[in-house]
Structures are given as C-alpha cells and as structure tokens.
Symmetry: C2
C-alpha cells in the first residue's frame, strides 16, 4: 500500500499527509489580536498547509502580519471581523474560518445570520473533535462536545455522516463508529436515544453512510478495549477498537473532551461542521498545539 | 493537627485510617464463587478492616473459606445467596453487602424487595464513587455513574448530602462540591438541571447539607483546574480544587468513570447508598484493587 493510503494514526501523520498532498488552504482568521492565535497560525503557515488571511487591527498588521508576510484586512471591531470573514467564505475567497480574540457568540451570530451567514438551510451544525490519547493506538473522533444539547434523530444521523466522512478523509476505509451509552442495553423507556441507535445501525447496513461499521449502544470501555469486550462477552464489529464515538448528549461529549485534556494529556483538534466551510472555534483554555491541529484537521476536510 | 484528623488524599491513607481507628466491619459476600472476589475479600481481611461472611457453595467453603478461616453460610444459588445477605443486614448481623459472582439484577431484586429488602421507604438509591487520578492531588468523589438515569431535584439533593457525608468521613471538613455542566451558564430552557443547581446552592447556604461549599454550573476543567478557572476569569469558591462532582445524568457520570479507568489509570472505588447498609457492587471489568478499595470505602462510611 502506498504511504499516502495508510490510515492516519496521529497528528504528525496528519500534517505529513497534508504536505504530501500539497494541501494549502486559505484560512481567514477572525480578529487575530491574541498571541495564542497568532502563534498557531504562524506554525500552520510555516508547515505550509495554511495561507492565512488575518482580519485584524492596524496594530496587528503593522507588527505581527508584516513580520510574517501575511495578508491582512483591517477592521475596527470583532463584530466587523466576523461579518467580513463570513463574506469571504460566501465569495469563495477563503476555505476555512478560524476564531481569534472574539467571543464565540459574536462569531456564531455572523455565521448563523439567515441572509448573510454560511449555514445552508437544513444543514446540521455540530462540533466534531478528534483526539490522540497515549493509551489508545489510533485517533478517536467524537461528537458533540460543544453545540447540540440533545441531538434529534435527524441531527444524530448527520453527526454519523460527518464522522464517517472525516474518517474516510483520514484514510480509514471502513471506520468503526460506536454509539455510546452507559450500558449495552436498548432501553427506549428511560433512554429514547437507544432506539435511535437501532435505526442508525439499520441505515448503516442499508449503505446510507458509505463504508463503515456501526454498533451500539455500547459503553466507552466496550468501544475502546478488546479486554473489556471479552470480559462482558460482547460480540461487536467495533471489536474494542472504535474509530469514532457518538455521544448521547452534550454533557457527556463535553465531559469526555475535558476529562481527556485535563487528566489524560490528550491532544485534541476540533471543528464545526454543517457550515459552508469548516470553522475552527477554539476554547479559551485550548493549547497552541490544539489550535494548530484544528487548522490541520480543517485543511484536510475542506470540500 | 493529629494524624487521624488530616484529610484522606488517597486509598493508602484510607486503609491507614481504618487501621488507626481499628475499624473492622462484617461484610457479607453474595455468592463468592469467583477468584477476583475471593482475592479482594482476602486482601481486605488481611488488612484487618473486613470480617467476611461468605454466602457460597460447599465447594467454596471446603477450599477457599476453610483455608482462610472465613465464616460461611452454604446456599444453593445466587438467588438464595442474595436473599440471605439482605436478611443478615436486616437482622444487624452484617454491616456491608458485597456482590460476588451474581448478576446485578438478581442482587438488586433482593435489595429492593418491598417487604424483605433493605431500601427504606423514600430513601434515594444512588451510586457514589471516589477516584484517585495521577493528575489530581486529592481524591475526587462523584455521582452517579450507575443507578439514576436523570436525577430529579429531590434525588440530586440526596446525592449532594451523600457526597458531603462521604467527604466528612474522609476528614474533608469543608468539602467543595461542584455541580457539573458543559458550561458555566444557567440555561433553564435547554438544561433544566441548571435551575436545580441554583436551588442546591441556596440550600447549601442555608446549611441544609452541613459544612460545605457548593457551586455550579461549572464545567470539569473549571472545577478541577485553577489555571482553567483563571483563563475563564471565573470566581468560584471551588477554586479549581473540587472534592466532589455532581453529574447531570448517568451518561456523563458513567462516561467519566470509564474514561478515567480506561485512559487515565485511575484507581476507583464505589458503593451504593440509600440502602440500610452500603452495597459494594463491582462491574465485571473492575480490578481486584478497585474491589479492595470499595470494601475500604464501605467500611469507613458504615453508619
């Protein structure tokens, strides 16, 4: 198998893949006034997979941007920066949006604007993340840690499709998607989402999502540990080596994200999906590395 | 401050405390037919904080129990073992129940039996766990990973009381209880539990739970990291050093339990509360050490 067809197992391999494929995407950075954002963008530009367009103040242009030789658009406020970034996506003059020193609410307002925004009618806006854990020998994709409180059946179907598409982009030809619950029992009375899980499995068998294996409800251990699967005597195509996890609700998704970053030294990247272009929307506590990896993820999955 | 008044920061200190206080509780072990259960019980007995009463087969008596010199009651089935164990608690001939090689359903049926069981009318049955993580310099208590799907306001109030009582038993004089959510915003429309969180804070101020600090909604990072708290510019009495976490639902509680054991090498102990005696109810995948620590936890919190 040629190198580029191998599945991507960590973030270094992701960046290598971007280089091999000579991928370089135009990332518009919304109000790039803070040093964390600037450092992440510099790193990505030096790696070669990002061509930044900074929407920023004159000060930032005269200092950081000129030194780096980055293209700039001068605006007066985070609000103006947000509107401008969204306009560039609509005009196909940029491929990715990255949040800088702007409140999430402000940027989302511009993104979700019914007339001028970039969420197509009927599209499902959701957050997709991918993590590398020391204790797991592959990347693990998951949704949703940040956007949809309690996914409807339709939203969850869209989430599964995003995960499958992401995994395919990472050369995981037949991704194993696990539908997470606290146990392996379908219990439609207490946990209506477990009924939806059955529908998703049928959809997968009918080929709705493309090539993949989907199973659930499964708990995290059964999804990610062959040993746990054997102890519970469970037979699942996931085989304790899930590539991606669907969480039942935002509390569990968010908790997974925060537990692995706080207690497991996980490296994590994340983007919004559903919009006309991927949106890199880091939290205030995210590391520069996490922002860099998020830009790499966005670059690979730009359509 | 004398040694025994210091707060307990890990499981070794817990076992030392039990020894110092000369605590030795009668633990009735339900159908103790598997080697994992037997090893955990042996270790606890050798440490001196457990006096086991094995409800088992004749074979187990003639081999394991006789060798160890443990008291036995011979029965024919896991069902009979469960009923017998519950009866011993009612007759005050035992202090703790531990599940052996019996299905959880079978044991719970005996525990919850309206006439012969050991859950007092109106008591809230819930699961309390405590973990030691390499990345956190104290124990962290949490609920509920196993029993209540979506706690009602009344159930959550009982959970807070259990956590406070547990922390006090661990000599944590003013425990910091964090009410977990995916963000710090109260949003009663999408997340009704955040309204309940406000009520719990008022109850705490009114002294309902005894000495403690309660705050929320807070996310996991803000609860357990001073740095994260500072980045978000949040002011909270939890101060990034929570002693205990209330999770909004079973999916998030269960996911936390499984993430820290699978990916963070956490040591975890757990018991059921609400019953007339603590119930040690290990999962099939739990380690012998985890079962030992659960027995230690149960011994300390027996009333």
């Amino acid at each position: 198998m040629p190198e580029k067809e191998r599945s991507i197992k960590d973030f270094k391999q992701l960046i290598s893949l971007l280089k091999e494929k000579h991928i370089c995407k135009r990332a518009v950075v919304v109000w790039s006034e803070d040093s964390h954002t600037q450092e992440a963008v510099s790193l990505a530009a030096h790696e070669g997979f990002i061509k930044p367009i900074l929407i920023c103040s004159e000060t930032t242009r005269n200092t950081f941007a000129q030194k780096e030789g980055f293209e700039t658009i001068i605006v007066d406020s985070p609000e103006e920066a947000s509107r401008k970034a969204v306009a560039l996506i609509r005009e196909k003059q940029a491929d990715i949006i990255m949040k800088g020193f702007v409140n999430t609410d402000v940027l989302l307002r511009a993104i979700l604007d019914k007339e001028l925004g970039i969420l197509p009618k009927g599209a499902v806006l959701t957050h997709i993340a991918v993590a590398k854990l020391a204790e797991y020998n592959k990347l693990i994709f998951f949704t949703d840690a940040a956007v949809i409180p309690y996914p409807t059946d339709e939203q969850r179907k869209a989430q599964v499709q995003y995960l499958v598409d992401f995994c395919h982009a990472f050369n995981i030809t037949c991704p194993k998607i696990s539908l997470i619950h606290c146990s392996e029992k379908v219990d439609t009375k207490h946990f209506p989402h477990t009924a939806n899980y059955l529908t998703l499995k049928e959809d997968a068998k009918a080929g709705v999502f493309g090539k993949c294996e989907i199973d659930g409800p499964l708990d995290l251990k059964t999804s990610c540990s062959k040993e746990a699967m054997e102890i519970k005597q469970i037979n699942s195509p996931i085989n304790g080596e899930a590539d991606a996890l669907i969480f039942p609700n935002i509390e569990s998704g968010n908790l997974f994200y925060k537990t692995i970053t706080l207690f497991c030294h996980a490296e994590v990247a994340g983007v919004l999906q559903g919009t006309m272009a991927p949106v890199v929307l880091p939290s205030r506590g995210d590391t520069i590395t996490s922002k860099l990896y998020s830009l790499a993820l966005a670059s690979l999955i730009v359509k």
